[in-house]
Point group: C2
Amino acid sequence: MTSEATPRVVIVGAGFGGLNAAQALANAPVRITVIDQKNFHTFQPLLYQVATAGLSPGEIAAPIRSILRSHKNIEVLMAEVTGFDLDQRRVETAEGSIPYDYLIVAAGASHAYFGHDDWEPYAPGLKTIEDALEIRRRVLLAFELAERHAAGGETAMPLNFVVVGGGPTGVELAGTLAEISRHALAHEFRSIDPARTHILLIEGGPRVLATYAEDLSRSAQEQLNHLGVEVRTSTTVTCIEPGAVYAGDTRMPATVVLWAAGVAASPLGKKLGAAVDRAGRVLVQPDLTVPGHPEVFVIGDLAALKDEQGKMLPGVAPVAIQQGRFVAKVIREEVESHAKAGARAPFHYWDKGSLATIGRAAAVAEFGRIHISGFIAWLSWLFVHILFLIGFRNRLLVFIQWAWSYVTYERGARLITGSTYLPGWTGDQPSSAAASEHPPQEIHTGPAK
Amino acid sequence: MTSEATPRVVIVGAGFGGLNAAQALANAPVRITVIDQKNFHTFQPLLYQVATAGLSPGEIAAPIRSILRSHKNIEVLMAEVTGFDLDQRRVETAEGSIPYDYLIVAAGASHAYFGHDDWEPYAPGLKTIEDALEIRRRVLLAFELAERHAAGGETAMPLNFVVVGGGPTGVELAGTLAEISRHALAHEFRSIDPARTHILLIEGGPRVLATYAEDLSRSAQEQLNHLGVEVRTSTTVTCIEPGAVYAGDTRMPATVVLWAAGVAASPLGKKLGAAVDRAGRVLVQPDLTVPGHPEVFVIGDLAALKDEQGKMLPGVAPVAIQQGRFVAKVIREEVESHAKAGARAPFHYWDKGSLATIGRAAAVAEFGRIHISGFIAWLSWLFVHILFLIGFRNRLLVFIQWAWSYVTYERGARLITGSTYLPGWTGDQPSSAAASEHPPQEIHTGPAK
């Protein structure tokens, strides 16, 4: 099994693509090393629930080791990949290089600010557990600071949440923020009224959920409005500063800004030496390999590939999962038949349909010509996402949390951990300093009159 | 209700003491303001479970607002108290001062390093959710770094976990760390054997769990040994540096050091101007008031009071809870009878018994003359602690997590978030830099031979 003859497969990244490739290669006559910067796999479709205090990180993440524990031919390393040597067939890490016979790069994508990285401190994105916790911290902290401010006798500051980007993530965030402010927090404050929180969703294009059919985009926007979200389409953000977002000369006050506008592929893509597109995704061959390197595969959000209709495959989990399994199959067949990489069948994406959630009982679903909106779409979204969660334990916990929130309107994980500094709060100052701009004065306790 | 005539009660701190005082005063003819630095109440008895990846923060914490939501005469402020003006009867915060007619200070305690605060970066304590997450990060990271190191062809570094302090927290941590390394992680690594982790518990006194009867201390030590923990009593730590703990000339190698040795009361105690003991606890009157200020109460870990036998009341939840209710009763009676603070009955602590858990199916319980050890004690511990968790949702989630871990030996929340730097790992350097001390070399993949 571990003899030198056994081909070595190195998989970089344990997201949907890498994990599915590894599992599909378990028990194949290969030795597999899975490398990831984190020790856990994140179920990204539910990340927005962590950001909005509905779920805890531990409920949407699972240790990579646990997931792959039973496969003795798989080794997991928590390490950062620094580069590749395609000629020597080695993956480079800070601790040394790892040789491979087959390489699968599934390093995924992160959020991008279109050359405005200076916006990041004021507008966090949502790609990792840490991102989600930072967003949760800012959102919950804003309400606490507003209550404290109002209790200080000031006229309550208006709470303005701005979400930049009308894709699935932006729509999820805006819808859920509305839900929280109107329901979960409704009766818990004495000096402010959370229901008066203003939530603004800004989309550069003409409609939200642009990858969906037009009728579903319309429906999504209506459902957002119904939840209490103001949607501005065809609006391009030109500047973000503490406390405000600008579209040209239009200034939009923002207590908290969330970034859901752009993604950029992992920088590891460029390090493969192949051509990449504007988003940094590797332009792969139909068999998902790097041109000239049939032993090097790129899958998931890091790969750029068009389908039969010439339409770019979307950066969604089903694509990554199917690509992971496709690559595993290719490798397994070649290893078992001892055939050199010959003519390979091209990867074909089987589109089972798309689901996007908007908020409580609000979602859209597109299954070919069948378009569904509202409660039914939301139920299907929920069912699919709980079903695909890794680990029965997580499925059970998430189901309970969901049922609990649905019945009680409560959010299970409303913890403010870490610093109590909020960039957009009364200028760019620490929360405590902010309020002490006013000379200390009496704080009127008791319910607001 | 909110007329100026209504007496104002300000409660500082929403731990067991403050929360129970607030709840016992709900619907009394008073206006209550609860002030806490955090927006959530932490169920401290289960904090060690978060530190050892058994539970997620959201499962042992609940937003203070949610807990008190239904009581309209209670207002919650997330703010930092900076001091008191006992003459003007005001609580000072960075945002201004808050007037009170009655003040209840329940600011609790934190861990102390006996004048060695320089040890803190190398030996985190366990008092807050943030502390627990930092401990979890270090413990899990140590195993990952060891695996990576061993995969690099080095002889596997021995993993040494040192817990300083043999009180309930130290015993819980040591026992659970043993459980994790022997079971939860047992089959998940390829190059190291987690079961060979060495766990050392150091206690300065002659026995662990010193507040318990001697036979239970003996039993606890036996149960620790049985779980695989080495216990060294009558050993005083004289120095902690990255990678090692010293007792005099004895050097004990330590990959991770956890501090469970000392507690110090909140600095707010001193700011009340009353006499404090060595641990900074306020020496209160039998009615829990500050001498000369019958309207100022100090309860919980911040208060120093002897029982009828002249024995200092322990810093445990039941004491804080009973004190909170006692103070609420005193205030309610005086307010309702419009009587000035006259002769008050002294606080009497009703000791229902003590429980300390050690690990899986291991615990000790002391109910007066009845002493129990092992599985039955552990079951009672579990029952009591799940029962007293705030919120049905948390009880349900924690019960599921517990049952899950018990059956599968798995730990639900094994996430390494934040930095990947581990002090004490091959000197005081970032993990990646550490390994690259050796010139980059081949990493042998596949199971260790």
